[in-house]
């Protein structure tokens, strides 16, 4: 068969300027499980303040250790519950000591004869998986379906896995769709993250959006993600389970050493224009690797990932929202990804078949690799090392 090349060389014929449609941010927050961080960080006996879903919530552990999440603004006179105190199982408001239970009901007003009618505030259903706290957000107020959940890491919480090394970034001026777009963005892994994707495939199905990538490092620049293992190859199978939580199984292979890392990349929206980005890593302890060594590797990997995320953030800070990206065949299925993502922003009754039907897209990396190998070789020959940390680049 032959490829009709005249089609691709005709750009001169089109002298019309392409316009960017910046669109507008969504008007609601996504339905789904959102990770708010490591559960142990909320179990210090104090109430915690978290800005999320356009409001502020209070998180506290009751006497049984269950983590509760309520809207932080007290329905009495608007006091901030997260500045209050935990009293027994309830959170007490600092303003007039009204006591609120994890179910959202006011349990007691100590100075009053009885609790008023309708003394109920917004509560988010919580779940703990892999040592992480999740809240279920649904603008329609439905409970989470049993089949929409977060997979467990087998053996997590035992000596098989190092502790989560956990990092948090505040991203302002961007809608969280920017990070979700990265799932399909094959080329940015080279330019922004200094990796060489050799194989890249996306699969969307139901509430899952997967990215299967096989990549190597670059000879001109080394990142912590390569774990200081020369000539290592990275086998990464990652997926978003719902709108905001990605779990990535990464094997770093060098010679006969293989290190398995789980990488979490998740976020929660503060507003439509800002979000908190979190990532965590845990390393599988293998024969011949002590717990400390595993923790050390997790640390190194995390530093590498942290640099990568900072590079993404630097891009988002300055870019525009774009509804109509202009794509090449090497770009990955941005439109189909957004069609998948849309399912979390419509009522469940309005989810259409095309948002959830299986879709597969395997990117051809041939041309990209040819180009990148030349670029890297030129850098090596000239002794050029690309600047890794964008915050340092400006200094």
């Amino acid at each position: 068969m032959s490829i009709d090349m005249t089609e691709v060389t005709d750009s001169e014929q089109f002298d019309e300027v392409r316009l960017i449609d910046a669109g507008s941010n969504p008007t609601r927050f996504a339905r789904g499980w959102h990770c708010l961080g490591r559960s142990k960080d909320f179990r210090d006996g104090k109430p915690h303040t978290v800005k999320v879903f356009g409001t502020k919530v209070v998180i506290w552990a009751d006497t049984k250790g269950k983590l509760n999440v309520l809207d932080a603004f007290c329905r009495h006179m608007g006091g901030d519950l997260s500045k209050g105190e935990i009293k027994g199982d309830e959170i007490s408001c600092p303003f007039h000591d009204w006591r609120w239970g994890g179910d959202g009901k006011c349990k007691d007003v100590p100075y009053a004869q009885r609790v008023p009618l309708r003394a109920r505030t917004a509560a988010w259903e919580t779940m703990e998986v892999n040592g992480l706290l999740f809240v279920w957000n649904d603008p329609q107020g439905n409970p989470p379906p049993a089949d929409v959940t977060i997979p467990e890491i087998p053996g997590f919480g035992t000596s098989e896995w190092s502790d989560w090394s956990w990092n948090t970034f505040l991203v302002e001026g961007s809608n969280c769709r920017e990070i979700v777009d990265n799932v399909v963005d094959m080329a940015h892994f080279f330019y922004v993250h200094y990796q060489m994707p050799q194989y890249f495939k996306n699969i969307f199905e139901g509430h899952v959006a997967a990215q299967h990538m096989r990549s190597t490092g670059r000879d001109d620049i080394h990142t912590g993600v390569q774990l200081d293992m020369p000539d290592s190859e990275t086998i990464s199978d990652a997926a978003y389970y719902g709108p905001s939580f990605m779990l990535d199984t990464v094997y770093t292979v060098a010679g006969d050493t293989t290190v398995e890392t789980k990488l979490v990349n998740c976020h929660y929206p503060i507003s439509q224009d800002s979000f908190v980005l979190m990532f965590g890593t845990t390393v599988h302890t293998i024969d011949g690797v002590t717990q400390e060594q595993a923790d050390g590797m997790a640390e190194m990997f995390t530093e590498g990932v942290e640099t990568q995320f900072k590079q993404d953030v630097e891009i988002w800070k300055h870019k525009t929202r774009i509804e109509n990206p202009l794509l090449t065949a090497e770009d990955g299925p941005v439109y189909q990804l957004r069609r998948w993502y849309e399912q979390f922003f419509v009522d469940v009754e309005d989810i259409t078949e095309d948002m959830v039907a299986r879709f597969e897209f395997e990117v051809d990396t041939t041309k990209a690799l040819e180009t990148w190998k030349v670029e890297v070789a030129e850098n090596v020959a000239k002794g050029i090392v690309p600047e890794q940390d964008p915050t340092k680049a400006k200094a």
Binding site: A239, V334, D354, F359, V363
Partner: protein
């Protein structure tokens, strides 16, 4: 996208090729039940990577390769992103 029927099970999917290594497959039926290989893999909890039914179906991949070889599936050099419903409605 062009309709390709799997030689093994007859399931119709929509396929687009931009090059030999590139393949894009839009399923228009429930993949987990319409593809016997996926159904089997799902039942055994096998082959599932990251919670999707499987990485790919070898029979379907073969059917796509054959369609390219016979010239039934043209390799395109231009990307025309089709969005949403139109994708499914146009081809079936």
């Amino acid at each position: 996208m062009k309709q390709i029927d799997c030689q093994q099970c007859g399931t119709a999917v929509l396929v687009e090729k931009f090059s030999i290594p590139h393949t894009s497959v839009q399923w228009v039926s429930d993949a987990a039940t319409s593809c016997p290989r996926f159904a089997e893999a799902t039942a055994d909890a096998r082959d599932s990577v990251c919670g999707t039914t499987a990485l790919s179906c070898s029979s379907l991949s073969q059917s796509i390769d054959d369609a390219v070889r016979d010239g039934r599936l043209p390799i395109k050099s231009r990307v025309e992103p089709v969005i949403g419903d139109a994708l499914v409605a146009d081809a079936l």
